[in-house]
Symmetry: C2
Subunit: 278 residues, 2 copies
């Protein structure tokens, strides 16, 4: 990693949460590692007054930095978009750029309605996510084993290898009922999966982690314990990976992956990505 040679301010503007524009700009700007980007999000920009305020902020920034900021927009309203375009900035109209092409391709007109991109509070998808989060919280760390039969996936691995955040992400993002179950020294001594899990083999997905990283994480929780010692971590990780290999359970190491990456792999490998016709 080299030190960034330049800095630039990025405004993310949206008539709704701005999550789409923020995700997109973050993603595309990661291609420019010479530049350090400082992002300002302006959500719920839904009136000309608010647009004028935003223009003033953008212009102030341009003047201070002597460089026009980048603006990523998912605004839908044409008049608000035009107002923003008037600012001293480099404007990227994410929807506008593609909506016309999509209209032509589909032969239909877009609805041009604002704030539609996220499901409303009462939708089926919303309820499914809340239900999955509640399920995941109730089935964290091997609690309430009777419920495992309802799980879509059961993550297994040694204590502190990343099961809980991954389970919660799967629930939150994909409405997947993700339980998790720890592999503990007794399982390694026995050299077998916990009996509780045997009926659910096909739902199991393993997470592992580098022993040195595990020792770090465990030390934060219980400093200088046997549990956090590098020796113990090495032993547990090796034993867990041996067990998962022996039992033919798909698994991956979380050490250098983001929660999003781990979750995507889990979805793909365990066939949760939904039955795909194509």
């Amino acid at each position: 990693m080299s030190t960034p040679a330049m800095q630039r301010t990025v405004f993310v503007v949206s008539d709704s949460t701005g999550i789409t524009a923020a995700t997109f700009s973050n993603s595309v700007l990661s291609q420019f590692d010479q530049v350090e980007f400082d992002t300002v999000r302006i959500p719920y920009l839904d009136s000309i007054e608010k647009a004028e305020e935003a223009v003033a902020r953008i212009n102030r920034c341009a003047a201070d930095q002597n460089a026009p900021p980048l603006v990523f927009s998912t605004l839908v309203d044409p008049a608000i978009t035009e107002t923003l375009r008037g600012a001293n900035c480099i404007f990227f109209d994410l929807f506008g750029t593609f909506v016309q092409n999509i209209e032509e391709a589909l032969g239909v007109k877009s609805s041009h309605s604002v704030g539609r991109s996220h499901m409303g509070g009462l939708s089926k998808q919303y309820n499914a996510r809340i239900e999955a989060i509640n399920f995941t919280l109730a089935h964290d760390d091997g609690q309430y084993v009777e419920g495992l039969k309802e799980a879509d996936v059961i993550l297994i691995g040694v204590s502190r290898c990343g099961k809980t955040p991954t389970s919660l992400y799967l629930a939150m993002q994909y409405a997947v009922k993700a339980a998790n179950y720890p592999l503990i020294p007794e399982d390694f001594d026995r050299g077998a999966l916990p009996a509780t899990l045997l009926p659910y083999r096909k739902k199991l997905f393993g997470l592992s982690i580098q022993p040195s990283r595990l020792a770090e994480v465990r030390n934060e929780r219980r400093p200088n314990s046997q549990y956090a010692s590098i020796k113990q971590c090495r032993h547990e990780v090796a034993a867990a990976e041996r067990l998962m290999r022996m039992e033919n359970i798909p698994w991956l190491s979380t050490t250098t992956k983001s929660i999003e990456e781990i979750s995507t792999k889990v979805m793909t490998e365990i066939g949760l990505e939904r039955r795909q016709l194509y």
Copy 2:
């Protein structure tokens, strides 16, 4: 809502998780409510072989449906992108469309490196998110009050109004240490905030919910209980809203909002969106 008049398959292709492309396509396609879109995500598309497989899938779909599918791509590799473009599809090159403009605006070249958009497993941001999730889990529902002083925000509201999912989303997405604390009938009888919360007034944000919706949610958990009765729900919600108004605590109703929308409002209102220079 009218019944969609047509259906169309959408492929989301990426050399990484595909989350950016999926978020974007979902968002822009929500502008076309006459069409029902069926999305197929192909993540980790990082070789010409995989690209050729994807082309075959897309072509099969086009032939079956007698219409070219839409393809949203955040592929970075030019050769892989070219392969995909060869499919019978309408191709949207999300990065390509903007990268050149950004290069010109900034006067620097992009790195054209794949799979960069999400932080690696060991990054500071990743650790901050995991720490925030652990904090939120430890401070769910008024547990461990000593830790509240470290919280970035404390969500309050009646039981089952949406505090837990919102707290988790804030932690997961923004690395915000979000605690939550229930408002219970005793608080309403006393007509005052729980004493525990008084030192943290500035961190409080209230969530409310329509009584009928609350009764529904509570009934799932404890069917036909006093707790879930519409009368009890009406009483608690009215009392909680009165208390929050009296105490001048910012709050909103979760009833018709997505977790993303609620979280964005919390971030903005409580000033967590970070100190913004502009």
